[in-house]
Symmetry: C2
Subunit: 406 residues, 2 copies
């Protein structure tokens, strides 16, 4: 006798994303309040393990002591050890020993499903600590304290974590919403220019996909952002994070079970360029090039009006973000050559599974999905970008036609 | 300026649990239909990697060939390699190399988020393959084909996976609902008696917590089940699976974020006994002892009427399940001694986090939660069980009083 039970498991994840400053200063209640509730923690003071990006420790030499002072003043919380430093940047995602060390600390200090791991750092450290926390005891509570533009406005507000394996980016990972995200803008002041600027390509991306008013604002404020105006950055981070959060909660597919990843505009090339550069390129820098490439492609094939293309490329250039990198020109420029950026199309399909689905633009704020890209046209787009990058020309003279390709 | 965005991420997981027979026979459409849909798989035939418990391969020597024949007849599916054998039982969860081998196979054969891993085996193999599948590419599709009573009626129908680490059971794991569960009753015929019977303690557990009619049925059919009546087993597996599924979908806490785990009746001792025995005891066998212990404790402290206690112990004994094992008597019988079963109380609290929460019974089908257990009374309960197990007495003469303790 055959029988079937259709199982339906509804789960709702809820977490706050706070925007604040000076999180670890003694009088700040936010961190303490975040760790106290919600949930019945019984008669034990919750344990807290803190893991910090060593780039952040170098930029803020007083931070480790400050964290210990903060917790010493909280009788309701138990910092189980001095903050644990880990290598910042992509290194920490590529070395499996680092995840092992986080697991060991979680085990040694008795961090359980009602205890907390606080991760302070860039997107790479948060991805790696997030993976370790999500797999220990089927998930201990993770509080993310992102310290770069990219992590504050994109990677740390979402539901994903990962590390690299088999030489492949993000091969291991899970979907695991955090307990809370605490965006402390003071951390951004010490970023290198490339990290200050690189993260803005995600803001441009999400504006192009979802919010023409935000694009207009970015266009008007690009020069201020490039000059490290803090107020402009505050707004850019907040609005970008908000748009990402709205997408995740409202998309109907937060755990990406379908083939389409509408937020991954410009990302098929970005992922490939990061890997081709041996991670010399940061994610945000690679996304800037990826956006430039897909916009130029769309303009060349007539999907995107030239005027819109010009505005987008101008914003990238005003932000000081490169639109061409040598990795665009490596290999045989053939999709079957793994050294060529074109092979990124198929790798992107493989990572998502199912059918190749690429978001492109028909206008600012007007995405469409396509299921193939013409390789000749992509090669022409690359040539346009190479010429553009070489020119010292002021942005206003950008013309696709004058690039001699149309 | 401080701002907060409250993020809400609703996710609904849906999967079928099928009860069938002879899944891999050529004319069976169920497996093919399960892998074809749902979701747009585009123009590529989905890839399938099959991992099989070596205990199952030994019991069904023709199985590997049968699986290959089945897939050879399906043009819409691509079996990427001959079925991959893995060690059956707890060994596969304790050796990190086994997870590594599954990851390698997933990578080598290009299994992506729209491709399938089919895991065929006991609860241990399904937990281990489930963990590997859930962490590869943030989760590839897992089809579970459980081959033991325990996995068909409990472990494989749920949302958890795990492997052991730091010498601790299930230390690593995630919550990851499967794509589908295919319960093939033909696999049960080759189980050793201990695996046929052991899994029934989960049926008894869930009946005691949720369904007096199912308890009555188990009581009436205990002798038939012990005699390996297949029809009785069919019903026991179906109803037990159904009750577990209903609990998970209706509990409001499928990912166990609270402190209470109502289905873990008898499990604080069970987990500890498994570990004390070096996994000589199977999970189901340990649960039988755990149920006996917690029921006897509840009877001794007056929570559970003696008549109900007698019926429960009789069912366990009629099923031929031991109610006492030497591991109950090891160590100093002190909760601070890790060799004593009593230390399992605190380990249980630690694994869940938060406050100690133990389900006990006030009657059949009537659970309550308690937050502490009296150690003296637990030691007395252990003595009662030791006496009982030693007696060859017929079940009908069971009396708490005649055990000289009340
Ligand atoms: N999980 C997701 O959804 C998601 C999304 C996008 C990107 N990512 C990942 O994020 C990573 C990139 O993150 P990133 O751009 O933040 O770079 P990063 O984490 O690689 O950090 C870049 C450098 O900045 C340093 N740093 C961090 N904070 C600093 C500070 N306040 N002051 C000075 N130096 C500081 C780091 O030590 C590092 O050397 C990539 O691994 C990418 O895959 C994840
Ligand atoms: N994920 C969960 O929610 C959950 C719940 C309960 C238990 N578990 C886990 O399940 C595991 C126990 O599973 P189990 O009781 O199925 O035992 P098991 O997986 O350890 O298998 C027991 C033995 O039976 C063999 N075997 C399996 N199928 C067979 C068949 N059809 N014929 C002959 N031999 C066969 C195996 O090779 C093994 O040697 C434990 O690791 C436990 O932690 C998980
Ligand atoms: Zn990105
Ligand atoms: Zn169990």
């Amino acid at each position: 006798m055959n029988q079937t039970i259709m199982q339906v498991v509804p789960v709702t994840f809820t977490y706050p994303v706070h925007f604040t400053e000076h999180l670890f200063e003694p009088q700040q209640a936010l961190l303490r309040d975040t760790l106290a509730g919600p949930g019945p923690s019984g008669d034990h003071a919750p344990r807290v393990l803190c893991v910090v990006d060593d780039g952040v420790l170098a930029a803020f030499p007083e931070l480790a002591a400050q964290i210990q002072t903060y917790f010493a003043a909280q009788p309701g919380l138990r910092l189980v050890a001095p903050p644990l430093g880990v290598p910042g940047g992509e290194r920490c995602k590529s070395d499996p020993d680092v995840v092992g060390r986080i697991h060991e600390a979680i085990n040694a200090h008795g961090i359980d499903r009602h205890a907390y791991v606080i991760a302070v750092g860039g997107g790479a450290v948060l991805d790696m600590v997030g993976y370790a926390a999500a797999t220990a005891h089927r998930g201990v509570r993770l509080v993310r304290v992102p310290t770069t533009v990219l992590s504050q406005n994109d990677s740390a507000v979402g539901v994903k974590n990962s590390v690299n394996a088999f030489g492949k980016k993000n091969w291991l990972g899970t979907f695991a919403p955090p307990h809370a995200v605490l965006n402390d803008r003071a951390f951004l002041t010490t970023l290198e220019d490339r990290d200050w600027l690189g993260g803005l390509s995600e803001a441009l991306k999400v504006a192009l996909l979802k919010d023409t008013a935000f694009f207009d604002w970015l266009e008007a404020n690009a020069a201020a952002l490039a000059a490290r105006d803090r107020e402009a950055m505050d707004h850019a981070v907040y609005r970008c994070a908000e748009l990402h959060l709205q997408h995740i909660s409202g998309s109907g597919d937060p755990f990406e079970r379908g083939s389409s990843r509408p937020l991954d505009f410009g990302h098929w090339a970005a992922h490939k360029l990061e890997s081709l550069s041996g991670y010399r390129l940061r994610h945000g820098e690679a996304v800037a090039v990826g956006i430039a490439l897909d916009c130029t492609y769309a303009a060349l094939n007539g999907l995107l009006p030239e005027a819109a293309w010009r505005r987008i490329l101008n914003v990238l250039r005003t932000l000081g973000l490169a639109v061409y990198v040598p990795e665009l020109g490596t290999g045989t420029q053939d999709a079957s050559d793994p050294r060529s950026v074109l092979s990124g199309l198929n790798e992107f399909r493989e990572h998502l599974g199912g059918r190749l689905t690429i978001p492109l633009l028909t206008g600012i704020g007007q995405p469409v999905e396509v299921h193939e890209m013409d390789h000749d046209l992509l090669r022409r787009a690359i040539t346009v970008l190479e010429d553009l990058q070489a020119q010292a020309s002021s942005p206003s003279v950008l013309h696709l036609h004058s690039q001699g390709v149309l």
